[in-house]
Structures are given as C-alpha cells and as structure tokens.
C-alpha cells in the first residue's frame, strides 16, 4: 500500500448526550497526499468537521468518544500519541484555519505578536519569529506589512483577517493545512481572492490542503478530490469532476440538483401602480453615509432583489424601510403615502402590511416562546385580524402552509432545525397577511438543499397569495432563480437596476460584472475555464 501524507481509517466518533449516545461520524475513511487538495463536502450536521477535529485533537472527551479507527500521519497513529507529542505536531506539521477569523484571533494582542507566538511556541527565537512574521504578512498580501504587525485584529477587514489566519497557519511551513469553511463568512469577491491565495501557497510549499465546506462552488474552484458526507457517513468519493458530472449516490445528486442558479429566469409581468416607491433615500451615521440616494419601485406581487456585498448598505435599506432606523432624507411611498413620515399610530396599522423575515431564525425567534405563542403574537398585537377562538386553528393552517405539521405548535424553536425555524419565521410573517415581506438574507444561513426548499416555499406564497418580496441577499445565484428585478448596491450607492435577465445576461456596470464573475459555479469545468481567463490579471493583483 502506498504511503499517504495523512490517512483517516474507519473513524467512529460518538457524542454522549442526555438523549443517549449519538454517532457523529460512522466509519469514515479518507486520505490526503502531498500537494493535493481534498474537499470534504456536506451540509450542517453531516459530521464533515468531526474527522478534522479528531485529527487536530479538538474533540471534547467526554462527551465525545473516539470509538474506533485511526489517523495515520508518517506511519504513526495520532490517536495513540500523548498530548505533548500531539502538541508538537499541531501548528508545526498540521495547521488549521477556521471559518470566523475574528473569533479565532485574540483581540487583546497585536497580530504580529500572535503570528510570532505560533513560532515561539515551537521553539523559534523571538527575533527570527518577528522576521518571519513580516515575511508572511507580505506573502499573504496584507498592505503595509511593517505597520500591520503592530495592529490589532479589529483593525482589519474580514478578508484580511482570513489572510492573517493563513499567515499564522503557514508560519511553521506545515505539511497539511486544514481549512474549515475558510471563506463562508466572506464576500464573493474576497472569497475568490482567498481561495486563489490558498491555491498559490499550496503550489509553493507542496502542502496537502484539506478543505471542509458546504459549498459546491468552492469545491469546483480548488478541490482535486472530494469526499461527500451525509449523516456521519461518506456517501461518495472521487475527483471533483467525476463527482459533479457522474454522481453515483442519490444524496450527491440531490445536493448538486439543489445548487441555485440553474432554473429559468423570471420575466416580470407585474404592472400597475407601484406598491412601494423609494425616492432618493439617504441614511447617514454621523459622517458615514450608509445610503446615498437610493430610488426604485416595487410593484404589487413582484420580487425585487437587492444585491450587494457587506457594507453595501443593503441591510440598512431594509431596516430604514421598516423604521427600525430613521432615514436621513428621501421618501418611501407606500401606496402613495410616505411611510418615513408616518406617525407611530399610522405606522402601527402599516406594520400589518409589511413584514420581515430575518437572516438567522435562531435569533429572530424568542427562545422562550412556543411556536404557537410566536405565531399568535401577531394577533395579540393586532386583535382585529382574528378572534382568539380561531387562533389555534389558524396556527395549524399556517404551519401546514409552510410545510410543517400542526402539532409542532407546542414545541419551542430550539427543537427545530435551521430550515424549519425559518419556516416558522415565515409563518409568523404570514400571520399578519402582509402585502410585502422583506427578506433580509433570509436563506443565507441555510444549507443548500434547505435553501432551495425555502425559496420554493416563498415562490409558492408569491403565486398563491400575491405577496410582494423585497429580497436582500449577497448570493447572486439564489436571486437569479427567484427575483423579477434586481438592484445592485455598492458602498451605499445604487450601481445598477434592471430585470433579472438584464442584470445576469447583459450587465452594464463593471462592478456588476465583477460580482457575477467572482461567483463560483458548482461545475469544476466551468470554474477551470474561468480560472484560465482571469489567471493573468489575478496574478498581477497578488
């Protein structure tokens, strides 16, 4: 048998919970060779991170327990080594980067100190470590590396922080780099840069890259081979191309089928008086202008998507329209009346007509209220909608409408999965029978297959009930399948607006084009050809 760089064999990890032991990964095996990129693909709860955690000794024991299996690294079983021996391998030979770099960088130390610590912990002198830290910062493309050494994590942007994490991970020139959802928290354009950097560093050092992700696009962009996981088991493994083009397992087929951005685009049909007309809306926080004169119309029963990266002002727009923030200027005409100038009393009546679905359903649902209480609260606030006697019946009806079961009404939010929680949030919004639902990144916290289901649900509600949607998203493919009109925002400005077809097929503005180009296609071949076309300018940038 040939010697792999690292090999996980038949790993079984259990967690002992009060509800009994739960097998998180069940007989998982994979290997990684030098200079190769292996992606572990799976949705939340699939156990995709668990085997990497076992490699890095990050599993809490107890409640966790490694019941069986081995992790072979240089002929030794890591699971049988002592704590101290493993510590010497961690960081030095096997390094890891995480999804949220802000949470994994210590806010009280300068980044230079933190990168150096990585090396001094493995016995390198402070002077040499400082020298190497500077070198690393320069290599990962941090502007002004000398000055950056003395700065603190909060002074960097999300993409830069991930670069810092990469610099830290690479400090000891590890043989293996484990990246756990390294770009999930980043904007698409930044994601493309970080992935390109990883790829390039791998070429330089010949390290093995283990990438844990839920994103088919990321797999297509960087992975050589892919391991697909579902419910703690490996369902399929092969080269990225083979798995995408000839998926053997039904789960893989379903996952690939759920990837958004392939369906037919909507042709806007709605006509008539606009439901909502936004005129020259501005909002500033002190000297910072978050919205710089936004204007667009929303017709009854149509979906307008507002797309932009973080900091583009798209969420501020939603919050201003719902009067969660006060606008600095401009008008928003709701059926002809300016809702920004309405009194509290008029606004109360209007709340019924405009509802909102938030990004993270685990936070937008009060954890102390049962589903029944959550949904019926709408009628407690607006008693004229429904008499109390009919609440129970209507809650059951709404739950059925969003694809849940009526007896879920007695349960509490934490007893549901992310997708189910978002359905509850949608049911709550529907309880007020609104004309417009504002969705602020309503599906971005969800798994791909769940995302597709929720989008289908929203689409159906639009058709059945004629509800209009203002759909705020950073994810272009999702928008493509669902929206009638698209508004592209950048830095508080409206860059471009048009029908879906105009924006996706014939984008006029360079920013829109850049945004579209940065998005990752789930097809490895498409990504490969895109990589070729942008290879020259990308290298120049780095």
């Amino acid at each position: 048998m040939s010697e792999h760089l690292i090999e996980v064999r038949d790993l079984v990890v259990r967690f002992h919970t009060a509800a009994g032991p739960v097998t998180a990964v069940d007989g998982v095996s994979w290997y990684l060779d030098r200079g190769e990129t292996l992606a572990i693909l799976g949705e939340s709860g699939s156990g995709k991170s668990v085997s990497a955690s076992a490699v890095m000794d990050l599993i809490d024991i107890p409640p966790g327990e490694i019941a069986r299996g081995s992790v072979l690294f240089e002929g030794r079983d890591l699971l049988k080594l002592s704590r101290e021996e493993r510590r010497r391998i961690h960081g030095k030979r096997i390094a890891m980067i995480f999804q949220d770099p802000l949470a994994h960088l210590n806010p009280t130390y300068s980044v230079g100190w933190q990168i150096s610590e990585m090396m001094t912990a493995h016995g390198i002198s402070r002077a040499a470590a400082g020298q190497r830290a500077l070198e690393l910062l320069r290599r990962v493309g941090i502007p002004d590396p000398e000055g950056a050494l003395g700065r603190y994590p909060h002074q960097f942007s999300g993409g830069q922080r991930q670069r810092l994490m990469i610099a830290m991970a690479l400090a000891m020139k590890p043989d293996i780099l484990i990246a756990d959802e390294p770009t999930t928290a980043l904007d698409v354009t930044v994601q493309a840069e970080v992935l390109a950097l990883l790829k390039e560093l791998q070429k330089e050092t010949g390290m093995g890259l283990l990438l844990i992700t839920h994103d088919l696009g990321v797999v297509a962009e960087v992975a050589d081979r892919v391991v697909v996981m579902n419910a703690g088991k490996v369902v399929e493994t092969g080269t990225a191309r083979d798995v995408y083009h000839n998926p053997a397992h039904p789960y893989t087929r379903r996952l690939i089928g759920a990837a958004p951005g392939k369906g037919a685009m909507h042709e806007p049909v709605a006509t008539g008086e606009p439901l909502l007309r936004i005129e020259n809306l501005t909002k500033s926080y002190g000297a910072v202008e978050a919205l710089k004169g936004i204007s667009f119309d929303l017709l009854p029963g149509e979906t307008v998507a507002v797309v932009g990266e973080s900091g583009s002002g798209k969420s501020t727009l939603a919050r201003t329209l719902l009067r969660l923030e006060d606008a600095s200027g401009g008008r928003a005409l709701w059926k002809g009346r300016d809702l920004l100038a309405m009194s509290t009393r008029d606004m109360f009546a209007l709340r019924r007509q405009i509802q909102m679905v938030f990004q993270d359903p685990s936070q937008s649902l009060n954890p102390r209220m049962s589903v029944f209480q959550l949904i019926s609260e709408a009628w407690a606030i607006h008693p004229d909608i429904l008499p109390k006697a009919r609440w129970r019946e209507r809650v059951a009806e709404l739950l059925t409408q969003v694809g849940l079961s009526p007896d879920h009404a007695r349960r509490y939010p934490h007893q549901f999965s992310g997708g189910q929680r978002q359905r509850i949030a949608i049911a709550r919004a529907l309880a007020l029978e609104p004309d417009l639902i504002v969705c602020d990144e309503a599906v971005s916290a969800l798994d791909v297959s769940i995302q597709a289901q929720v989008i289908a649900l929203l689409d159906q509600l639009r058709r059945d009930l004629g509800i209009a949607f203002l759909f705020i998203a950073h994810d272009l493919p999702v928008v493509r399948d669902f929206a009638d009109h698209v508004v592209v925002m950048q830095g508080g400005r409206l860059v471009e607006k048009g029908t879906v077809r105009q924006i996706f097929d014939t984008p006029k503005e360079p920013y829109t084009r850049a945004l579209l180009a940065a998005g990752l296609d789930p097809d490895p071949d498409v990504q490969a050809s895109r990589r070729k076309t942008r290879a020259a300018p990308a290298l120049a940038l780095l």
Binding site: A19, I354, Q363, D407, H414, Q415
Partner: protein
C-alpha cells in the same frame, strides 16, 4: 454546536402530558435537591406563619435553671433539645418564633428591592432618553452613600419597626438589581427577536414585558436568593446597633449577634440560628437553580426526561 443540533431534533423530545401544575411538580420531583429545598422552605414558612401563636410564651419566658443549657438533652423539655440561651429560653422555640420576623424582613426587603430595581432597570435599559440617565445617577448616589449611615439616620428618625426596616434595607439593595437588569436589557434589546416584534407592531410595553423581562427574570431571581442571606445579616447588625428589631422581639440575625459573646463556652447560642440562615439561603439557591432550568425551554428537557443512562 454539533451536540445541540443532535439533541435539538424535534423527534427526540416528547411533549409532556398533564396540567401545568402536575408537570411542575413532576419536574420538582426529578430534581431531588430542589425537592428537599422546597420541603425545607415549606417548613420554614409554616413556622413563620404559625410559630409565634403557639410558642411565643415559651420562647420569651426566662428559666434561670436552664441557663446556657447544652443541646441534645431532654432534661429541660423537648423544646430545649437544641439547648437554651443565656436566660434559659429554649433555642428551638426561639428559632421557630424568630422565623416570622426574619422572614418578614428578609422577604419584604428582597421582594421590594428586586421589584423596584427590576422595574427601574427595565426603564433605564429600554428608554434611550434622559429618564434612564437620571435613574442611573440616582443609583450611583445610593451606592456611594454608606448604607449603614443611611439606615442609622432613617431609623433614628422613624421608629425601628419591621416595616421601616424593610424600607431601609430595600433602598440600599435597589442598585444591585437595577444595574444588573439594565445591563441585561441593553444586550437583549439588540437581539433579533426584539426587532422582529417591533416589525410586527408590538408596543414598547409588550416588548419589555413579553420579550425582555422573561429573559431577565432568572438572573434577578438568582441575585435575590443570594441577597436573602445578606439582608438577614444586615438586619442583625442594625439590631446590634440598637436601631433594628429590639428585644424582646427576636430574629435569627439578632440571635446570632446575641450568641456571639458566648461563643467560647456556649457555641450553640449562635450556631443554631446561624444554621437556620445558611439552610434557608441554600434552599432558596437550590430552588432558584431549579427554577432557572424550568423557565428555560432549552434546558427544561433535563427535568422532563427520565434518566435513560448515566
């Protein structure tokens, strides 16, 4: 993260049956420590309600033959099983009688300060206006003013009665609740579900009472139980200064401070009332711990489920 996901599947948790009262009792039965605490508190409350009517004479009549009688002897009657004090009055009877005053002062002071502090804290935390600032500065003033001095002044001018004692102790403890509540409210106010309620058109009253308060309550209750012991002892130090409850009225705190001078030769004088204070506070603490779990839907299953395996 992983484990919560697994535990959190709807199928894993059966919806419990029965009325709310039987469900609560069943959950209390599951937590044996809380059950003991509950029973002990029930006994204390019974003593406080009926003790003085039954035992007041015995507890206040001196018996010089039984001066500092040691505990665990039935020579001076079963009520002297815990010993007798410097005037030969049986300690058990005195503890039972004293429970009324002690509980009245402690419950009253803790309840008043928690209620006022929480309400002011909610207002100060939720309103962004000047009202909140004024409340906080008032709290600063109370905190910077020595509480003992305040008590001395107030109780010197007013008669030292149970009612006045409650007022004085409550005022000095209000800032504790106020600051904690305000800090929690400031954090909860920014949570997404509060915004979701705003979007639905919920009034400020509704948001504060329905969405913010239920999350603050467990914290307030926990502080309140800890404060219970503090108030009992503060009351005894006021009695020591001669401005609290005065003999022949008795409280546990007063008994502890009276017994202090005999610690070397008759430890039981201070020990038994001290034990009563400790056990009461401990029971309240255990019970509040249990209540925190019961009030939290995410934790409640721990008490609703039978233990299947260790």
């Amino acid at each position: 993260m992983l484990s919560t996901e697994i535990v959190g599947t709807p199928e894993a948790i059966a919806v419990p049956r029965g009325t709310a009262a039987t469900r609560v009792l069943r959950m209390l039965y599951r937590d044996k420590l809380a059950l003991c605490a509950g029973i002990f508190l029930l006994i204390v409350i019974t003593c406080a309600l009926f003790g003085p009517y039954l035992l007041n004479d015995i507890a206040t009549r001196p018996n010089l033959r039984a001066r500092n009688a040691p505990p665990f002897s039935l020579a001076h009657g079963w009520l002297a099983v815990l010993g007798a004090d410097a005037l030969g009055r049986p300690l058990l009877a005195r503890i039972i009688v004293a429970s009324q005053n002690t509980m009245a002062v402690a419950c009253g002071a803790v309840a008043c300060s928690a209620l006022v502090g929480a309400v002011l804290g909610l207002v100060a935390g939720y309103s962004r206006g000047r009202g909140g600032q004024i409340i906080m500065r008032l709290a600063d003033i109370i905190m910077s003013f020595p509480s003992l001095l305040l008590a001395v002044i107030v109780l010197y001018m007013l008669a030292p009665s149970v009612g006045n004692l409650i007022v004085v102790l409550a005022i000095t403890r209000i800032p504790v609740y106020l600051r904690t509540t305000r800090a929690e409210v400031l954090e909860i106010r920014e949570r997404m579900f509060v915004q979701a309620a705003t979007v639905m058109g919920a009034s400020r009253m509704r948001i504060v009472l329905r969405h913010i308060l239920p999350i603050v309550i467990p914290t307030i209750v926990t502080i309140a139980t800890l404060d219970f012991a503090f108030v009992m002892l503060a009351e005894s130090s006021l009695s020591f200064l001669g401005i609290g409850i005065q003999p022949p009225q008795i409280t546990w705190g007063l008994m502890v401070s009276q017994g202090r001078s005999y610690l070397a030769n008759a430890w039981w004088l201070a020990f038994w009332p001290g034990l009563a204070i400790i056990l009461t506070t401990l029971s309240l603490n255990l019970l509040s711990n249990w209540m925190r779990v019961v009030l939290d839907p995410v934790q409640r299953w721990r008490l609703e489920m039978r233990k299947t395996e260790a």
